[in-house]
């Protein structure tokens, strides 16, 4: 992606006001304005690593580069009920503790295989908030990915103007 496209993507994904890129921040707060969620810089980074684990960079961009974590935050902040937002925050914190415990180090520091292996075990976790957090994050990451400018213009192309309809197209 060239810079202009990257900035545009960033804006589309973040939606709300972009405060400052993470590296310039000293506040310890999230990099986008959130109305309902209280998210720390650490939380945001964990979420970035999580979306990257869900949808990793290969020869095409993954979660981090497409800023899926910011999309997840934006959607949870604006489109979910207060109860779900509460569970999301509780689950995020529970996920942080649980993953560190299971991996023996912070989620961000673990290698990709161990992270993937851990996510495969989320379903077995008895913590309902953690599971809810994970299912929201996964669903919204998938949505953000499939509806990202990158995917819609390069991989699964969205046609704004099809100009045709064929009801007998070969399968």
């Amino acid at each position: 992606m060239n810079r202009r496209a990257a900035v545009r993507t960033l804006l589309y994904i973040a939606g709300g006001t972009l405060v400052l890129p993470a590296c310039f921040r000293e506040s310890g707060k999230a990099s986008i304005d959130l109305t309902n969620l209280s998210i720390s810089e650490d939380d945001e980074q964990l979420l970035a690593e999580l979306t990257e684990t869900l949808i990793p960079a290969t020869d095409t961009p993954g979660g981090k580069e497409l800023l899926l974590h910011l999309f997840v935050l934006k959607m949870v902040d604006d489109c979910h009920k207060p109860e779900e937002q509460e569970q999301f925050i509780k689950g995020l914190s529970a996920f942080s503790t649980w993953s560190s415990h299971e991996l023996g180090k912070r989620f961000a520091e673990a290698d990709a295989d161990s992270r993937t292996g851990l996510l495969d075990k989320v379903d077995e976790n008895p913590d309902e908030a953690l599971k809810k957090f994970f299912s929201i994050t996964k669903r919204r990451s998938i949505q953000g990915y499939m509806n990202s400018q990158y995917v819609m213009t390069n991989l699964v192309k969205y046609e704004l103007v099809p100009g045709r309809y064929n009801g007998y197209a070969p399968a």
Binding site: G16, D78, C79, T116, Y145, N147, Q149, Y165, G167
Partner: protein, 571 residues
Amino acid sequence: MANLAIDSIKERTFDAIVIGSGASGSWAAKEFTEKGLKTLLLERGRNVEHVKDYPTTNMYPYEFEHRLEMPYADKQKNPIANRCYAYGEDSQHFFVKDDEHPYIQVKDFDWIRGYQVGGKSLIWARQVQRWSDFDFEGPARDGFSVDWPIRYKDLAPWYSYVERFIGVSGNNDGIPELPDGEHLPAFPLNAVEDHFSKSVSQHYKNRHVISARCAHLSKPNPIHIEQGRVQCQNRVLCRRGCPFGGYYSANAVTIPWAQKTGNLTLRPHSVVHSIIYDEAKGKATGVKVIDAQTKEEMEFFAQVIFVNASALNTNLILLNSISNRFPQGLGNDHGLLGKYVAFHNYTATIGAEYDGLKQYRTDGRNPAGGGYIPRFRNVYKQETDFLRGWAAGFGANRSDVRDTSGIGNALKDGLLHAKLGPWRVHSHMMAETIPKEENFVSLDAEQKDAWGIPLLRISIDYDENDRKMRQDYYEQMTEMFEKAGFTNIHTRDDNRRPGNDIHEMGGARMGHDPKTSLLNKWNQLHLCTNVYVTDGACMTSTSTQNPTLTYMAMTARAADHALSELKRNNL
């Protein structure tokens, strides 16, 4: 001063006033301005200019802050608008927000409104079917409402007139209960829709599955090019407003056409308070308007007034047009105004899968949405224990299925490498409801809106006939699906509230007799003949067709009548 006042009155005097700029109102304006009448077109909402005021029309999904989803706060604030299928992040600016324009729900009722120039013609479903005499003769034959004062032959030439101008794609199917029209080529059925159509024809005598007829330019004629429109581009993003003018909207077609004559004065932000009745002259002389922004009250005058404010708002305006002569509302000596409101019952759907024809899929998008099943129940004779019947939409599609179960590379693979899913079929019911006195709207005695106009009270509900018909739809459609080899059939009551079909009709019904109706066969108020009502409020019964085409045809016919009456000095 005296001269100033005379000038001012002169400036506010027109040949014709049309209240409401949607599909029917803009048709009246087109007809009048084309024939040289200085016409004032009043619209309570803001102006929406074709193309210029379609802010979302060329946006990609990723350009929407929430990828087209409405935020939770908006759903809490505007539950009624959010229950409308067409309300989304790309179209919400064309819908009335609940709290801006309150009304009183005596019974649950979703009143979906579009207060802007063009009204709901920007966001409508664009399905257009003619009525036949099986519809017009319904009330007389089955003993409800009152007899329609018109028959198909009265409206047929006007259907043609409107269809030629707006552009309607469809086949001439030769079905007596769904008359043929002046059609552009149909959007053809797809493989499975065709299969169902053939199966239904094979198994039933009077049942048909045809290409849905819709107000899209499948192949424009010179008249459509002259309107500045081009062929529909199969975007199916219609609710955002179409930059191609691919479908009929007042904004793309009738309003610019009227403007081109130089005879149109379009006045947005004009809330009509009431129609002014002059007792000495025995007719209406104009309308009282509240400017929506300044709240300034003003009067406009004309020889003829068309009321096209949308069905329930037309009732409201007439009910609020109080004079010594008409203390209960204009033309309402008998108190029937606002009563016998009816609508369409869209509560039932059915879905299934089909395991065959796997060599095909669809490519591109079909703006018609697929097939249409004209009403076949109780058409030639009464054959069930409920009155009237239902039509149905029918569509088949085969979409990509993406495996979302994995994590990491497996998930990415699953998302990017879709498999073709099974054919899925879907239908929704469009049932007639019977107009009844107890389904009514009225004005609240105390509460008023921000413009000093009484709030509308709405008391409308389903009844036993509606429930029986829904059951019949489930049974008949299930049988038809089974005969076509569809599997995994599931019926669903979507529990939608009355009004959510967005086809409210009646309240100022047409009829032969001034004692039992409000309007005569030309859509004139029996008791105030220079006021015409040609939107949904005039409907004596609802039948099952999507109503807008009938309103447009009725409007063109009534405008023609008004023009000849004006010539004869009869108004």
